[in-house]
């Protein structure tokens, strides 16, 4: 195969791996939106906080990796529950803007508090994964990307199963579909709201470990959250499959665009290409590729 073709496939392969990792984070956003209709502008900050907690547990307190990850997971679950109870539940029934503003405020607070509590330096979050690149001809993939993508895929599948097959998942979709009727069925609606936020916490903890190990841990890590928006707009705000597809599209597009355009413009393509695509998508399919359209019988 020629080098140029090789280069193209490598960009795509890389994009797929990165895309799955975006999808995992976007899943946190989708879970919350699906169940509670809240738009969480702090998803990236959730990831950052989780990564800070895990790396602090590892380095400052010398915890073994498995324990640090457990602490991160437990901490983020508690955080999700606590947040729902203290901030979001009182906002129930208020205009959607109130919730949006609350999450934007929360994002700012987390960006301030994280470094305050754990220091401002860039920490690393080393995983026991070989750093040796895997060569494919003249190009290479890093093992941590492969592992990150694998873990993401695993959890995306697990959450997908939960929603499609488990009784709790079906109840959660029922809540998302019609709160009042769900309540009439004896479904404890607030409990499912809390569960959705806790699940966003779980996803953020995993995302924090994966992204933190690749990018290093500091406030900048919250920026991965920015990629959530093109992903969910492309895939549909409330669709798990959509999050995966949207993630893959964003991952591939930004990699391919960066691979071909960056050499001429000196970089930065990755940051805007997904947004350009998002705006295009909004013009064509406002509810996303897999987003729900309200069913109207004729």
């Amino acid at each position: 195969m020629s080098d140029t073709l090789n280069f193209f496939f490598l960009l795509i392969g890389n994009g797929v791996l990165i895309g799955l990792m975006y999808a995992l984070i976007a899943l946190g956003f989708v879970l919350v939106y699906k169940a509670t209709d809240a738009i969480n502008f702090a998803q990236g900050e959730f990831v950052m906080i989780a990564a800070i907690v895990v790396s602090a547990a590892l380095q400052a307190y010398g915890a073994p990796l498995w324990l640090a990850i457990l602490i991160g997971l437990g901490g983020m679950i508690a955080f999700g529950f606590g947040l729902e109870r203290s901030v979001l539940r009182p906002l129930l029934g208020r205009p959607i803007v109130a919730v949006i503003m609350a999450t934007i405020g929360l994002a700012a607070i987390l960006r301030g508090v994280g470094p305050l509590a754990f220091g401002t330096g860039v920490r690393n979050l080393p995983l026991p994964i070989s750093e040796d690149p895997i060569f494919l001809g003249p190009f290479f993939l890093t093992p941590v990307q492969l592992v990150g993508a694998g873990v993401s895929l695993l959890f995306l599948a697990a959450f997908g199963w939960f929603f499609m097959k488990s009784r709790q998942g079906i109840a959660m979709r029922a809540v998302a579909n019609n709160q009042q009727v769900a309540m009439a069925m004896g479904i404890h609606v607030e409990r499912y709201f809390a569960l959705a936020w806790a699940m966003a916490g779980v996803v953020s903890a995993l995302g924090g470990v994966i992204w933190g190990s690749m990018l290093g841990v500091d406030v900048q890590l919250a920026l991965v959250g920015l990629k959530v928006f093109p992903v969910v707009i492309l895939g549909g705000l409330d669709s798990i499959v959509g999050a995966i597809v949207g993630g893959l599209i964003v991952g591939i597009v930004e990699n391919v665009a960066a691979g071909y355009i960056d050499p001429y413009v000196g970089g930065g393509t990755k940051d805007f290409a997904p947004y350009a695509l998002m705006i295009l998508a909004l013009m064509i399919r406002p509810y996303g590729i897999f987003g729900k359209r309200t069913i109207e019988r004729v």
Binding site: I170, A176, M183
Partner: protein, 264 residues
């Protein structure tokens, strides 16, 4: 089985909607609650099922008792757990879920998976059309099928009492007949207790054992269904038949209704 003792309901701390409603639903009976638009029928059902709260409504006086135990003030999920389930008017299926998923969601209070399967089979045997459509999105069912689904979904919790709000609304007579037939069977075979809110008094009094008529947040008339059917006021208002045996036009009845009050 179900007792409402002189209940008063207020929305938003100001709007008084029920002004002392008392009614009884005997175990294993079908009781119907009739009344014009805005009389307070739906509010009465919500006062029983605990769903008032979500709408900032409150039972401010009186009590609701299920088998002698007070249930007013309890949250909706506890009331479902105790065996009372409300079916909203207007066929509110979970339109994004399949028929079977709707049923599973209805069985949320059931702990035992075997029981869920058994209830699903029971619902499918009462409404075979739902079995045929089990993996279809509920939003695409016909109106009659949706009404069967919301009733079936409520039955999934294995209720003692089902509160049905205007199940005949907007359905073809044949479909309504089919659904009412199933209700009769459910009453006979499962000893289901039914509180049926209807605008279609003729149909409802044909099915029910006992009836209440409501106006302006009060019960104004009550009695065995058969005697209500013979009552001249009920005839005139709800069956559309005047003393002379002629059918009154809807507009005439509506006009008359504005002037006349039940007990005045």
């Amino acid at each position: 089985m179900l007792n409402l003792n002189n209940i008063e309901v207020i929305y938003n701390n100001v709007v008084l909607v029920l002004r002392g409603v008392s009614l009884q639903v005997k175990e294993g009976s079908i009781t119907t609650l009739l009344g014009a638009n805005g009389a307070g029928k739906t509010t009465t059902l919500k006062a029983i099922s605990g769903l008032l709260r979500a709408e900032r409504g409150e039972v401010t006086k009186g009590s609701v008792e299920l088998a002698g135990q007070r249930i007013d003030g309890k949250p909706a999920h506890e009331i479902v757990n105790q065996g009372v389930v409300q079916v909203f008017e207007g066929r509110r299926v979970f339109d994004q879920l399949t028929v079977e998923e709707n049923l599973i969601a209805g069985a949320h209070t059931q702990r035992d998976m075997g029981k869920v399967r058994q209830r699903t089979e029971a619902v499918y045997s009462y409404f075979p059309r739902l079995r045929e459509r089990r993996s279809q999105l509920a939003g695409y069912l016909s109106g009659g099928e949706q009404q069967m689904l919301v009733i079936g979904r409520a039955l999934m919790s294995d209720p003692k009492v089902i509160l049905l709000d205007e199940p005949s609304l907007g359905l073809a007579p044949l479909v309504v007949e089919e659904i009412f037939g199933r209700l009769k069977r459910l009453q006979q075979e499962e000893r289901l207790t039914v509180l049926l809110v209807e605008q279609n008094a003729n149909l409802a009094l044909g099915l029910a054992d006992h009836g209440y008529v409501m106006e302006n947040g009060r019960i104004v008339l009550e009695g065995p269904a058969a005697s209500l059917r013979d009552n001249s006021d009920v005839k005139e208002f709800y069956l559309g038949i005047s003393e002379h045996g002629a059918r009154k036009s809807y507009r005439e009845v509506k006009h008359y209704r504005r002037r006349k009050r039940w007990l005045s």
